[in-house]
């Protein structure tokens, strides 16, 4: 049953990162990089937790998370789109703002347990040996993350809005020439991205750990930004990176539980080491998929 536990853990653990990758993919597709994804996620975690704690409704919690993450992403958008601030610097600041703000506001809630979302086994499917329980005995946010992948693909690649969003990330002048408003499209992409990322934070707080701890995202947002590259800026490959990260996390927890004699500090590095390896082997080819407007930002940051 080790495999089942590992798989189940990978999904449980990876889902928050998966939302982060989805969110950041949408953001980067419109030509904005939001290093503050970590901030959006942690805000989402606290918002979902507090709301669920008081209202006893996880659904309202998720909604609050999306609003919270959206507001923080909007701040990023105003700064980098409206004021043309440096995207990398602004993103980092947004991240620390999110972390600091939640630490302060969440003081009284630390380590208080809540019910939150529970596992909902899907009939028949959850009965499949080995993978059934892992894949189909999960919380609702995991299932949503399964569906979100084709949904985002549809939005980005099959609709006119998606076409315009992606075009904004490639060449805003072209979009402008067709009478669309690239600035508005960017705002949409960044805020939507922040909202999706924040739901990842919500999953972490109310579905995975059922508690609030300060800085509980622990770098997942940053990892998500890195894994967007691994996924080639495409939602359909987001799961690969997310579950590599989640799998490594689950593995280290399982090893710790079994009392393996490796320092816990080393074990806790596992997910990050795995991610670095994944990036090492995948990065070379991915640069070409990078939206052109994003390249400009990274190049201009490197030059200035």
């Amino acid at each position: 049953m080790f495999i089942t536990s590992l798989l189940s853990g990978a999904i449980q653990c990876g889902t928050s990162v998966l939302y982060g990758i989805y969110g950041e993919t949408v953001t980067e597709r419109v030509g904005v990089i939001n290093l503050g994804t970590e901030g959006c996620m942690v805000v989402g975690a606290l918002a979902a937790y507090v709301c669920t704690y008081h209202t006893k409704s996880p659904l309202l919690g998720i909604l609050m998370a999306a609003i919270g993450g959206g507001v923080l992403a909007l701040l990023h958008a105003i700064l980098v789109i409206g004021r043309k601030a440096n995207q990398l610097a602004t993103g980092l600041t947004i991240m620390f703002l999110g972390l600091g703000l939640t630490s302060f506001l969440g003081q009284q809630y630390v380590s208080v347990s809540i019910d939150g979302l529970s596992m909902i086994p899907i009939p028949v499917l959850s009965g499949i040996p080995v993978i059934g329980t892992a894949l189909f005995n999960q919380d609702i946010l995991v299932y949503v993350s399964y569906i979100l992948c084709p949904l985002l693909c549809y939005l980005l690649f099959k609709t006119r809005l998606g076409l315009l969003l992606r075009a904004t990330g490639e060449d805003e002048e072209v979009v402008f020439a067709y009478g669309a408003n690239p600035k508005l499209l960017r705002y949409i992409g960044v805020v939507l991205g922040g909202m999706i990322s924040a739901i990842g934070g919500a999953q972490l707080a109310i579905a995975y750990t059922h508690t609030w701890i300060e800085n509980m995202t622990n770098g997942r947002g940053i990892i998500a930004v890195a894994l967007v590259v691994l996924a080639g800026y495409h939602p359909k490959k987001a799961m690969i990176g997310a579950y590599i990260f989640g799998g490594a996390q689950a593995l280290q927890l399982l090893l710790q539980a079994q009392g393996v004699h490796i320092s816990t500090f080393i074990l806790q590095m596992f997910p990050y080491l795995f991610t670095i390896c994944a990036l090492f082997f995948a990065s070379r080819k991915k640069v070409q998929a990078m939206p052109a407007e994003l390249k400009k930002i990274i190049e201009s940051s490197a030059n200035s």
Binding site: R160, L163, L164, R166, A167, E170, D171, E173, V174, V175, A177, Y178, G179, A289, P291, A292, N303
Partner: protein
């Protein structure tokens, strides 16, 4: 179609535009009629593009008015589109990461968007058949060559609405000679379908045959207008373009100093040239460069010119084959070794390859130019600038004020700076890509003169150009990239542009 002389689609009255202190256009009175090809010719910087961008609404005129169907219009690109005015930009408004179809989809007007995909694809096919501009709708634009991209752009513009006026900004600059001829035919059939065509170009000879009206722009004003029915006076047109100072085409043959010793400076044997995607572009290519020789390299753009030059210069490693420079095996040597051996490269895109943003022109000359001397602890700048001031190449090629930032100059100006820099090094081997691209007739002449002088001093030059006339007039021999092979050296005196064109195209089909 009969041209309705009394009802122009577009008419401008005293159009004027100013950027700061600089007047880009003034006193522009222009009429555009259906079923007519009107060519706007002029030197670089004559204000052609600016004028077209005003007609399309990208720029707002400072004063004057634009009338469409006799009504005054405050033009914007959206209004232009609605009124049936489309523009094919020089740098294309299409997204390389998208397929042709996606690019076209994005440009469709509201009422067309809802239609099923198949119907839209069908319309694309119909247009491409009608005007013989084949495109593959599902191909990524990024994988297309410039000619294909232009065709996508044209179809896109045609589908953007009920187009009546089509503006083309320097359309032939990205095309080979054959493609340009096809392009002209396409324009003619569009004219016959009743479109009004505005064609901006600085290549007068290309448009003489097809234009119904030729308008010459100089220093932002219309200085000459000739109509086909009255016959064109080519010399007059050229002199109007150049402002009277026409240089007569030089026959470089007379200036040739014959080099008897036939010293081989560079020899590449059995070279395989790959692009960044590891595709083999040239297979088993052989190239011998002798002292005092200009070799013209002809070929369809993107068939390995860039990669060949970069491999010879050492930017890319030669994986197969052998390269000897000055008798020494240099197959694996570094760029630095090759520079020390007297090699210089003028890249096809210096803006990308050579320009350091924020650095002045003379600083670029210090990076890789004439030898620099040191005074106490630093570079002796005065010595360098003195050298630049006294350099014939710098003067003749018209290098702008040396304290200007290189990055702020136009592509053609950057190119001439890079050429002047390479010439100042007195290279033994010069690899020059498109040294005259984007320059006006007068400067092109100076570029050729400079190359010939360098040759006469014993330099061996590999000249890449898309302009076959240029290659034929300047080169001592011509090598063609035909499919994936390099041809033997051809004698420009006995080879016609058409034969070379056939080799360029023939090789392409052979490969398929």
């Amino acid at each position: 179609m009969k041209i309705n002389k009394f009802n122009p689609i577009i008419k401008t009255n005293q159009l004027k535009i100013r950027f700061g202190d600089f007047v880009a256009n003034q006193n522009i009175n222009l009429s555009v009629y259906a079923g007519q090809i009107q060519s706007i010719v002029g030197e670089n910087g004559a204000g052609k593009s600016t004028l077209m961008k005003m007609l399309y609404g990208t720029y707002k005129p400072t004063s004057g008015e634009i009338l469409v169907d006799r009504e005054r219009v405050h033009m914007t690109p959206q209004i232009a589109m609605r009124l049936g005015i489309g523009m094919v930009f020089q740098d294309f408004r299409i997204i390389p990461a998208f397929t042709a179809f996606e690019n076209i989809m994005m440009a469709l007007p509201k009422e067309k968007r809802k239609r099923p995909k198949e119907e839209i694809k069908k319309e694309i096919c119909e247009i491409s058949q009608k005007y013989k501009i084949p495109v593959d709708p599902d191909m990524l634009v990024g994988q297309m060559d410039l000619g294909q991209r232009q065709r996508v752009e044209i179809i896109k513009v045609l589908m953007m609405g009920k187009m009546r006026v089509l503006i083309f900004d320097e359309p032939t600059s990205v095309l080979t000679q054959q493609e340009a001829q096809e392009f002209i035919k396409m324009l003619q059939s569009m004219r016959d379908d009743g479109y009004a065509i505005l064609l901006i170009t600085h290549k007068l000879h290309e448009v003489m045959a097809c234009s119904d009206v030729i308008t010459v722009l100089r220093h932002g004003e219309i200085v000459e207008k000739e109509e086909k029915e009255n016959g064109y006076d080519q010399e007059r047109l050229i002199s109007k373009m150049m402002g009277g100072e026409v240089t007569i085409h030089t026959d470089y043959e007379d200036q040739k100093k014959v080099f008897e010793k036939e010293e081989v400076l560079l020899e590449g044997k059995d070279m395989s040239i790959y692009n960044a995607q590891h595709r083999e572009l040239i297979r088993h290519g052989n190239l011998t460069m002798k002292a005092g020789e200009i070799i013209g390299l002809a070929g369809i753009s993107g068939r390995g010119q860039r990669e060949l030059l970069e491999t010879l210069f050492g930017v890319n490693v030669l994986k197969m084959g052998q390269l000897t420079i000055d008798g020494k095996d240099m197959t694996k040597s570094s760029i630095r070794d090759r520079i020390e051996a007297g090699m210089a490269l003028v890249s096809e895109d210096p803006k990308r390859d050579n320009v350091v943003a924020g650095m002045k022109i003379y600083e670029h000359f210090a990076l890789n130019g004439p030898e620099i001397s040191y005074k106490k602890v630093g570079i002796n700048w005065k010595d360098l600038t003195d050298k630049m001031d006294t350099s014939k190449a710098v003067k003749e090629l018209g290098v702008p004020e040396k304290t200007r930032e290189l990055a702020t100059l136009s592509g053609g100006n950057i190119q001439r700076c890079m050429l002047a820099r390479a010439v100042m090094k007195q290279p033994k081997i010069l690899l020059a890509s498109y040294p005259s691209r984007g320059l006006d007739v007068g400067t092109v002449e100076m570029v050729h003169q400079t190359l010939v002088e360098l040759r006469n001093q014993g330099c061996s030059i590999l000249l890449v150009s898309e302009d076959l006339e240029e290659l034929l007039s300047v080169s001592d021999s011509i090598v063609v990239i035909s499919g994936d092979t390099l041809t033997e050296k051809l004698d420009p005196k006995t080879t016609s542009a058409l034969e070379i064109g056939d080799l360029m195209i023939g090789g392409k089909e052979h490969e398929r």
